[in-house]
C-alpha cells in the first residue's frame, strides 16, 4: 500500500479535526499576539538592542518560534485522545507502516502550526515589520515547517509512551519551558553567561529561533545553513525515535 496514501489519510483527518475545533485556532492566534502587543511593546520601551534593532524586532522571530513549539508539541495529545476513545485500535490494526502513520500525523501537525505561523507573520507586519524579501519569506517558511515538524514529532514520540491525555500537557510544559527560555527568543544568548550559552547550544529550538532571526533581520548568532542543518538532524532523529515508539505502541 502506497506510503503517500497512508500519510495523506492521516493528514486529512488531522485537518478535519482542526477545522472543526474553532476555539483551538482562535486561542493559538490570540496568545502570541498578546505576547507581541504587550510584552514586546512594553519591553522595547525599556531595552535597546545592540546594533540599533528595536526589542520588538528582536523578539518577533522569538515569539513566532514560541508559538510554533507550544502548538506543535501539544498536538501530540491527539495520540492520547485516540487511545482514550479507542480509535487508535482502528489505526494500529490497519495493514500499514507505523512510521507512515506517524509521518502523517506529524505533517498534519506541521500544517496547523505553519498556518498559525503565517498568521503571526501578518501580526508582526501589523507592527510595521515585514520580512525584508521574498527569499527571506521563503526562508522563514522553511524554518517554520522544520521547527514544527521536529517538535510535533517530539510530542508524538512522547505521547506514544503515555496513556493519560490530561497528564500530557503537564509533562510537555515541563519540557517546553526550559527549551523556550534557553532558545534566545526573549534575550540574546550571545550576551548570556557561558554556562547558559553551553546549555542553549544543545537546544534545537535555539537554532530554529536563530534561523528565523537570520531571515527576518539578517543578523544571527550562527550562519543560517548551520541552523538549518542542525534542525534537520534533530527532525530526522525525532522521526526515527517516534517511528520506533509507534511500532512498540499498544492501543
Amino acid at each position: 500500500m502506497a506510503a503517500t496514501q497512508v500519510i495523506y489519510t492521516m493528514w486529512l483527518r488531522e485537518m478535519k479535526w482542526f477545522i472543526r475545533a474553532k476555539s483551538r485556532m482562535a486561542q493559538s492566534i490570540v496568545q502570541p499576539f498578546l505576547w507581541l502587543a504587550i510584552v514586546g511593546v512594553g519591553m522595547s520601551s525599556a531595552f535597546t538592542m545592540p546594533g540599533g534593532t528595536s526589542y520588538l524586532q528582536f523578539m518577533a522571530p522569538g515569539i513566532i518560534g514560541m508559538s510554533l513549539i507550544f502548538s506543535s508539541t501539544m498536538l501530540g495529545v491527539s495520540v492520547l485522545w485516540d487511545k482514550q476513545f479507542g480509535f487508535m485500535k482502528e489505526i494500529l490494526v490497519a495493514p500499514v507502516s507505523r512510521t507512515h502513520i506517524m509521518l502523517g500525523k506529524a505533517l498534519g501537525g506541521m500544517t496547523i502550526s505553519v498556518l498559525q505561523g503565517v498568521i503571526l507573520i501578518f501580526a508582526v507586519g501589523l507592527f510595521g515589520f515585514w520580512p525584508p524579501s521574498v527569499i527571506a519569506l521563503l526562508q522563514i517558511l522553511v524554518f517554520m515547517a522544520l521547527v514544527s515538524l521536529s517538535f510535533v514529532s517530539l510530542g508524538l514520540a512522547i505521547a506514544a509512551r503515555m496513556e493519560d491525555p490530561i497528564a500530557f500537557p503537564v509533562v510537555m510544559n515541563f519540557l517546553i519551558m526550559p527549551l523556550f527560555f534557553l532558545s534566545g527568543a526573549l534575550f540574546p544568548i550571545s550576551m548570556a553567561p557561558a554556562w547558559m550559552k553551553a546549555a542553549a547550544s544543545l537546544n534545537p529550538l535555539m537554532y530554529g529561533v536563530d534561523g528565523l532571526r537570520a531571515a527576518f533581520l539578517g543578523t544571527s548568532q550562527y550562519p543560517i545553513l548551520v541552523d538549518f542543518g542542525i534542525l534537520l538532524m534533530f527532525f530526522v532523529a525525532m522521526i526515527l525515535i517516534g517511528g520506533y515508539l509507534f511500532k512498540k505502541m499498544k492501543a
Binding site: M1, V6, Y8, K16, G86, F87, K89, V93, P95
Partner: protein
C-alpha cells in the same frame, strides 16, 4: 482447497506474568462459519481475538489466520481480517461516512471503488440516511452497526466481532443478530464472535467453543452440545442446599446434582415426574423447597457441566470449588 482453514491455532498462549490469559488453545475454524467463543467476562476471549488480529503478540504457540502466520506475516493477516472491537473505536468527530472513508483509504481502496463500497456497506447496515452526521450524535446501536460496516469495507475473508451486542437493548440486539447472519450469507465472510450471552451463541453460531479461564472446555454445534446433556434440568431453591446434596445424589432418577449459586441444580431423566419426588426427599430430610424450576438444557447448562458455575456475572469467589459435595456424581 479442502485442507485450508480460515483460522488454525496451535498451542496459542498468552501470559501476563503469572497469569495465563490464554492457555494452549488449539482451534480450527472453517471458511464460511459463524463461530462463537462463549464464556464469562475475563475468560480470555478478547485476548485470544487480539492475538488472532495481530494486536497482541502471543507468548507461546502459533496461529494462521486467512492462511498467513500471525507472527511472520502480520500485514497479510491484517489485510485478510476485519474486526469490531468490544469497546467503541470510532472517531466521534468525523461523520459516519468519513469514518468509512478513512478506513477505505488506509486499506488502499481507490477513489470510485471506495465511494461505491461505502454506499454498499452503509446500505447493508441501514445507515445510508445518517451517513453525513457526526458519529457523536449516533445511538449505541448505530455506532455498533457503523463499526460492522467499517469492518466489512475492505472485503475481509474473516470478520471478528468482540461482544457485538454488549450493552444493547433487546430490540437492537435482534437487529444486530440479523445483520450478522446477513453478512455471513451475503458477503460470505467467516465470522468469529465472542459473547457471554447464551442466547446469542445459540441463535447465531454454527459451532461454539465454550471458553473458561483461557481454555476451550467444550466445542461443537449448539444443538449437539445440548443434546449431549440428556434429560431435563431441575433447580430447587432451598435453605442450606449443601445439606440435601448427598441424599439427592442417591436418588436413582438423578443423574447429576450440585450446588450452583445457592440452589440445588439437578440433571434428571424426566423433570415433570421428578419434581414431586425431589420435594418429598427434601421434606423427608427436614427441609422445605421454596421454589422449583424445570428447563431443557441450554448452553448455560453445558457450561455449568464443565466448569461448575454459571456464565453470567461471575464473582471471583465463585471460582473456588464448593467442597467435596459439589463434584458431579459419576
Amino acid at each position: 482447497m479442502k485442507n485450508s482453514y480460515a483460522i488454525e491455532t496451535r498451542g496459542l498462549t498468552k501470559k501476563y506474568g503469572d497469569l495465563t490469559a490464554v492457555n494452549r488453545v488449539n482451534l480450527k475454524i472453517n471458511p464460511g462459519e459463524i463461530f462463537g467463543l462463549l464464556g464469562p467476562n475475563g475468560a480470555g476471549k478478547t485476548t485470544l481475538i487480539h492475538m488472532l488480529s495481530t494486536i497482541l503478540p502471543p507468548t507461546g504457540g502459533t496461529a494462521k489466520v486467512g492462511g498467513s502466520d500471525i507472527r511472520k506475516n502480520p500485514d497479510s493477516v491484517r489485510r485478510a481480517i476485519g474486526i469490531v472491537f468490544q469497546e467503541p473505536s470510532l472517531d466521534n468527530r468525523l461523520t459516519g461516512k468519513e469514518n468509512l472513508d478513512f478506513h477505505g483509504r488506509m486499506y488502499g481502496l481507490a477513489g470510485t471503488q471506495r465511494e461505491e463500497r461505502i454506499k454498499e456497506v452503509l446500505k447493508i447496515v441501514g445507515l445510508s440516511e445518517r451517513a453525513g452526521n457526526l458519529v457523536q450524535n449516533y445511538s449505541g446501536g448505530m455506532k455498533r452497526r457503523l463499526e460492522m460496516a467499517r469492518g466489512l469495507m475492505h472485503r475481509p475473508q474473516i470478520l471478528f466481532l468482540d461482544e457485538p451486542t454488549l450493552g444493547l437493548d433487546p430490540q437492537t440486539r435482534r437487529a444486530v443478530w440479523d445483520q450478522i447472519r446477513m453478512l455471513n450469507t451475503v458477503e460470505k465472510v467467516t465470522i468469529i464472535l465472542t459473547t457471554h450471552y447464551i442466547e446469542e451463541a445459540d441463535y447465531l453460531c454454527n459451532r461454539v467453543a465454550i471458553f473458561d479461564r483461557g481454555r476451550i472446555v467444550e466445542l461443537g454445534a449448539p444443538k449437539a452440545l445440548k443434546d449431549a446433556l440428556k434429560g431435563d434440568i431441575v433447580s430447587l431453591r432451598v435453605a442450606t442446599p449443601e445439606k440435601f446434596l448427598k441424599v439427592l445424589q442417591k436418588a436413582p432418577f438423578v443423574k447429576n446434582a450440585k450446588v450452583v449459586d445457592d440452589s440445588l441444580y439437578l440433571r434428571v431423566d424426566n423433570g415433570e415426574r421428578a419434581i414431586p419426588r425431589l420435594i418429598e426427599i427434601v421434606a423427608a430430610n427436614g427441609g422445605q423447597v421454596q421454589g422449583a424450576n424445570l428447563s431443557r438444557p441450554t448452553l448455560e447448562d453445558v457450561f455449568i457441566k464443565h466448569t461448575g458455575k454459571t456464565i453470567r456475572e461471575e464473582k471471583p469467589d465463585n471460582r473456588v470449588p464448593f467442597g467435596p459435595g459439589s463434584h458431579w456424581r459419576r
